[in-house]
């Protein structure tokens, strides 16, 4: 479903991603971990072309991402994205936040879009917030709205970039629970996170990055009990010991 082959990415002279090779199959949950600045967000953002790759081959849903024939707007409708800082639209209600793209990008009627939005708001547990504005919600609620907004496009893939890093500790659980349910329902997910418990429990695979390279790719049990790489070991000892 997602395939990186020898992908490199530069920001000017600076190489952020080096020779990335990664295959993600339908229904898989892949968690990306690594120190800050290692290129995790960039890797994720290449998948929906918020960042363009410099060279190599990146296929998503059998479409070549850096090809002129690929309509990027159509491809993005199949990929939901959840950001660290939610990025909800502050001037719209929760319902309007969720229905905007279905109405304007998919061309679905308002009535149908509202119905779909309510379905997903139920799923993330806050149907009563439909008419609230983002500023009236807690961080955890905002992030759940953001997830519902991503799902409302009925995407094949969901991308999460540190979805709980901006949350107060007591709200992390409610967001992770929604993500766990999604994973159980068979959604293909790529998740950048420091929540090792989530990785352990939900991921099919853990990808460890450092300095723009994928250093290790293992099943979570193997990765956490016996990381192959020294740097992965060091990283784990840091994140698990506080």
């Amino acid at each position: 479903m997602i395939s990186f082959k020898h992908v490199n990415k530069h920001f000017g002279d600076f190489q952020v991603l080096t020779d990335i090779n990664l295959e993600i199959k339908e229904g898989e949950v892949v968690v990306v971990v690594g120190p800050s600045g290692s290129g995790k967000s960039t890797l994720l953002r290449c998948i929906n072309r918020l960042e363009t790759i410099t060279d190599g081959e990146l296929m998503v849903n059998k479409k070549l991402l850096n090809s002129k024939d690929t309509n990027i707007n159509d491809l993005r409708k199949e990929i939901g994205m959840v950001f660290q800082h939610f990025n909800l639209y502050p001037h719209m209600t929760v319902l309007e936040n969720i229905t905007l793209a279905p109405r304007k990008a998919l061309g679905i009627s308002t009535a149908e879009a509202n119905e779909t939005a309510m379905f997903y708001l139920n799923k993330v547990g806050i149907p009563d917030k439909a008419d609230s504005y983002p500023s009236q919600l807690s961080g955890g609620q905002q992030q759940r709205v953001a997830i519902a907004r991503g799902l409302a496009l009925k995407p094949h893939i969901m991308l999460f970039d540190e979805p709980t890093s901006a949350l107060d500790p007591e709200m992390i659980g409610e967001v992770l629970d929604v993500m766990k349910t999604l994973a159980k329902d068979g959604m293909t997910m790529v998740v950048v996170t420091h929540e090792m418990g989530f990785a352990h429990e939900v991921a099919n695979r853990v990808v460890f990055m450092d300095h723009g390279r994928i250093l290790e790719e293992s099943e979570p049990a193997a990765f956490f009990s016996n990381p192959k790489e020294d740097r992965a070991r060091l990283f784990l000892s840091r994140v698990l010991n506080h």
């Binding site: 918020l50 994205m81 950001f83 905007l100 304007k104």
Partner: protein, 217 residues
């Protein structure tokens, strides 16, 4: 004391000037706003050619005197075979001149919207234009309203350059009343009052909008 007979004796003339000033202000307000939005969007668009054209427009227009732009349209165009009335030339010059400032105000407003908003919009499959229209501009407009209001007030005041090219505005008729009556002070005080009739409500309206938008934050 002001001699109110100046006002009452010339009320028709004052009113004609007032209405024309109102007309040129409204026309130029609409035109400069549309042009300003287009230029602002060009300047922040991902396309280099548009950026360059937008920047060139703003820098050129902002850095020459308004009256020069007016003279180009009023005295310059006839040599190219195009005659404009003072009113027409004034409306066009004012619109172009104000558009450069409006474009800058709007651009600053757009840039102040968090870039995560554009990313959220684009990543959900909306086009650049849709994202601008539904997500970025509605947020930018709140930030832009105070500077925009100031630009519109300036526009009303700047419309007085029509007087220079027989544009039949308040300033022009003020001049003509003054030379007919040999009164200077009182005539122009009344002209000032007519300008205030336009600018003070505008200023209050902008204040009202600011407060209202702050509430719906």
């Amino acid at each position: 004391m002001l001699d109110f007979s100046i006002l009452t004796n010339n009320i028709d003339t004052y009113l004609e000037g007032f209405l024309n000033t109102l007309k040129v202000s409204l026309l130029a307000l609409i035109l400069s706003f549309i042009l300003g939005v287009i230029i602002a969007v060009m300047r922040i668009s991902p396309m280099k050619v548009l950026q360059l054209a937008g920047t060139a427009f703003v820098e050129f227009i902002r850095n020459i005197p308004l009256i020069l732009i007016l003279f180009i349209f009023y005295y310059g165009l006839p040599s190219l075979g195009m005659e404009l009335s003072g009113f027409q030339a004034g409306t066009i010059a004012l619109s172009i001149y104000t558009a450069a400032f409006i474009a800058e105000a709007i651009r600053a407003g757009i840039l102040s919207v968090d870039k995560g908003q554009m990313e959220a919009g684009r990543s959900s499959g909306l086009t650049y234009i849709q994202t601008m229209r539904y997500i970025i501009l509605p947020q930018a407009i709140k930030i832009v309203i105070p500077p925009l209001g100031n630009q519109f007030i300036n526009l009303v005041k700047n419309s007085s350059i029509l007087g220079v090219v027989a544009g039949l505005d308040l300033m022009y008729f003020g001049d003509s009343i003054s030379s007919a009556t040999y009164v200077v002070f009182d005539v122009y005080i009344f002209v000032a009052l007519f300008y205030l009739i336009l600018t003070i409500p505008l200023s209050l309206f902008v204040g009202y909008l600011e407060r209202r938008l702050a509430v719906t934050g």
